[in-house]
């Protein structure tokens, strides 16, 4: 049995006086212990909402979450609020994008870590402090004992993100969800944090869900990658498979449109035309069809299903053929 089994997860935003909006539309995936799974997509594709739904951090009012999220067999969506609170922090940790707004600005770093330890592991304050020093040291924060008494604003961006990771790891959760953990950071700091995450996953056997828009981050970190578009998974593949032979025109287009450091210069980038605003609803066809270079008449009529393909999954009527994938070109 997988550690986490997400089945047909659907999140609908229902605001008064507005049309309901389906942010996540029937997403299913598994996370095995020790595995790193990527959720990739652009803004608005539903990747962050998926993670918030798994953690039950979406407001109850105005949001309808359906489907199931089984963690070691128990459906998180059906736990009582109290039981869910016990799980959060103990079994499931989360690291957010912006470390400054996710740390409490008026509470010292140390207290924010010991709080977790006292709450979930029942440690005494003294023992928790010792453990907190150990945790900060483990995530590479220099002079950890002194940092305990410092406030978030006294730390740099990279250090704050380390502190946040320390809090998320305080109870050795079996699953860590990292939502764009390096997007707010500079590249050299990003490299540090990614190395840290990679190391922690290897050492502790924690499973990791990595949510990002950056295909470069995915390429170096994830075992399996899910590409999301318009709230649905459009392609799933093992890491090497995905980058070597992207099958969905969206994945293929993303890879062709980013300048690569190691590629020859002077080649024109091949952009994906239009923007997310051009999407059509999934029930009337493929949401990506208006932007898709491979679109056929059927794409605007019948919604494609997620079917097994090449060892992964694919939702497309007219996928990119491997031979074409080797030499990106063709959007216009």
């Amino acid at each position: 049995m997988a550690l986490l089994e997400v089945r047909d997860l659907k999140v609908v935003f229902q605001r008064r006086g507005e049309q309901p909006f389906t942010a996540v539309d029937g997403v299913s995936f598994d996370v095995e212990p020790g595995q790193t799974v990527g959720l990739v997509g652009e803004s608005g594709c539903g990747k962050s909402v998926t993670s918030l739904a798994i953690m039950r951090l979406l407001a109850k009012r105005g949001n309808k979450v359906t489907g199931s999220v089984r963690f070691e067999g128990a459906d998180l969506l059906r736990l009582s609020d109290g039981d869910m609170r016990d799980r959060r922090g103990r079994d499931l940790g989360m690291v957010f994008q912006d470390p400054l707004s996710s740390l409490n600005p008026v509470i010292p770093i140390g207290l924010q870590i010991t709080e977790v330890l006292e709450r979930h592991r029942g440690m005494a304050r003294k023992a928790a402090s010792v453990e907190a020093v150990d945790l900060l040291d483990k995530v590479g924060i220099p002079d950890p004992a002194r940092r305990l008494t410092e406030y978030p604003h006294q730390l740099s961006g990279g250090m704050r993100q380390r502190a946040l990771i320390a809090i998320a790891l305080a109870c050795r959760p079996r699953l860590l969800i990292a939502d764009e953990p390096t997007t707010a950071l500079d590249v050299t700091i990003q490299a540090q944090i990614l190395a840290l995450l990679r190391e922690l996953v290897q050492d502790t056997g924690t499973a990791l869900i990595m949510i990002t828009h950056d295909l470069g981050v995915v390429a170096g970190l994830c075992d399996e990658v899910n590409v999301l578009y318009g709230g649905k998974i459009v392609e799933r593949a093992r890491r090497h498979q995905l980058f070597a032979e992207p099958r969905h025109p969206y994945t293929h287009g993303l890879l062709a449109s980013i300048p690569r450091l190691d590629a020859g210069r002077g080649e024109k980038l091949i952009p994906i035309r239009g923007s997310v605003a051009d999407n059509i609803p999934w029930d009337g066809g493929c949401a990506f069809a208006p932007r898709c270079p491979n679109a056929l008449a059927v794409c605007g009529e019948i919604s494609p299903q997620l079917v097994p393909d090449n060892g992964g999954l694919l939702r497309c009527h007219n996928p990119v053929r491997p031979a074409v994938a080797a030499r990106p070109g063709g959007v216009r």
Partner: protein
């Protein structure tokens, strides 16, 4: 840095913009009644560069390195503390009043966030006309209308956009409006500060291609400021790498990638994730320890020495290296660039780990140990 301007050795374009020993220091003030200046942020601290007509010069560096401040100082959007900005023969840093206002027509800017840099209550037509009117380019009504249509078609927007407002457009389209506004007054130089970083990946390529097309069409000169080295390398002819207020390396885009000389450039290149698992699995990363030191309290000597894996006992901590020419058009500010290139100096991971600078607490003194590699 008062090193003489290197002769422009590659290409034969004439120099359009020349920056000489430019400094921008911001005072740090304290006190309620009496504003005492208690220190300075050395945002830009001695930059020399030259941009030739028709070329794209890329400026990269991490946040806080002074790249945006430099761009704004070139356009006189902030006041340089010292130094010269010579634009087509005139020193912009010394201009005043009406002459400065007139000079601005030839230097325009594209901003990072298209929504906050467009007035939400102005229609696109009014946004585009404002600059033209200020410079007296809207005399003939018919010609003006034609010009507006030309501008829109140049940036790939439909004519119907003229009556719309910025909120009615997507991010990529808004950035196109910002580009059209910059073009409206026929500038020679465009400073683009992070022109694509606020856009979605799939839209970034559209804007990058547009910038390239416009350059070919109108013979524009670009100064592109960005933190994303992959984007900068793609569109630039030459690249300058900045660290803590100064250039550490400058060369053409291909050489920078193939043959980076400065330790910081090497680390920066190795830190950028490449969307290819095969490359990611095999390449070696140079992990820098610690954060960028505070520009209010920059390290002595070479500003990078606190994080440099190749740091040597002599010179690095005491003498600030000058930007010097090391190959054709390749300038590096490192005392040991040749030794590093030829492998006479090896990186020493241990020492690098010991260096840690608290960016925001310069007064607390250097703490002891810590880095990722330590726990690896």
């Amino acid at each position: 840095m008062s090193a003489p301007m290197p002769p422009v050795s590659t290409g034969n374009g004439q120099v359009l913009l020349k920056v000489e020993d430019l400094k921008v220091h911001f005072p740090i003030k304290r006190g309620v009644v009496i504003d005492r200046t208690i220190g300075h942020v050395f945002a830009v601290d001695g930059v020399d560069l030259a941009i030739r007509r028709g070329e794209t010069y890329g400026l990269v560096g991490e946040s806080g390195c002074g790249k945006s401040t430099l761009g704004m100082a070139i356009l006189r959007l902030n006041e340089p503390t010292a130094g010269k900005v010579v634009f087509d023969g005139t020193d912009v840093a010394a201009l005043k009043g009406e002459t400065l206002r007139k000079a601005r027509r030839r230097m325009q800017m594209i901003f990072q966030d298209p929504l906050s840099s467009l007035d939400p209550r102005q229609s696109v037509e009014s946004i585009l006309l404002e600059g033209m009117r200020a410079h007296g380019l809207d005399e003939d009504k018919e010609a003006t209308q034609r010009r507006l249509r030309e501008l829109l078609s140049a940036v790939g927007l439909p004519e119907s956009s003229l009556r719309k407002y910025p909120h009615e457009f997507s991010g990529g389209q808004r950035q196109r409006i910002g580009i059209a506004r910059a073009l409206s007054v026929n500038p020679d130089l465009i400073v683009a500060d992070e022109p694509v970083s606020a856009l979605d990946v799939s839209v970034q390529a559209q804007v990058v291609n547009l910038l390239e097309d416009l350059q070919n069409k109108f013979g524009l000169t670009y100064l592109v400021i960005a933190h994303d080295l992959a984007v900068v390398r793609h569109i630039s002819d030459r690249i300058g790498v900045m660290y803590l207020g100064a250039l550490v390396e400058e060369t053409d885009a291909d050489t920078l990638y193939r043959n980076p000389m400065h330790p910081y450039t090497r680390a920066l290149l190795s830190a950028i994730p490449v969307p290819d698992p095969v490359v990611e699995d095999t390449r070696e990363q140079i992990l820098l320890a610690g954060d960028l030191p505070s520009p209010a309290n920059p390290p002595t000597g070479c500003r990078f020495h606190t994080r440099c894996p190749w740091r040597q006992a002599s010179l690095c901590g005491t003498d600030r290296p000058q930007l010097r020419e090391i190959g054709a058009g390749h300038r590096v500010a490192c005392h040991y660039a040749e030794d590093i290139r030829d492998g006479r100096i090896q990186p020493h991971a241990v020492e690098a780990e010991l260096v840690e600078v608290t960016a925001l607490n310069p007064d607390l003194g250097p703490p002891d140990v810590g880095s990722v590699s330590e726990i690896l």
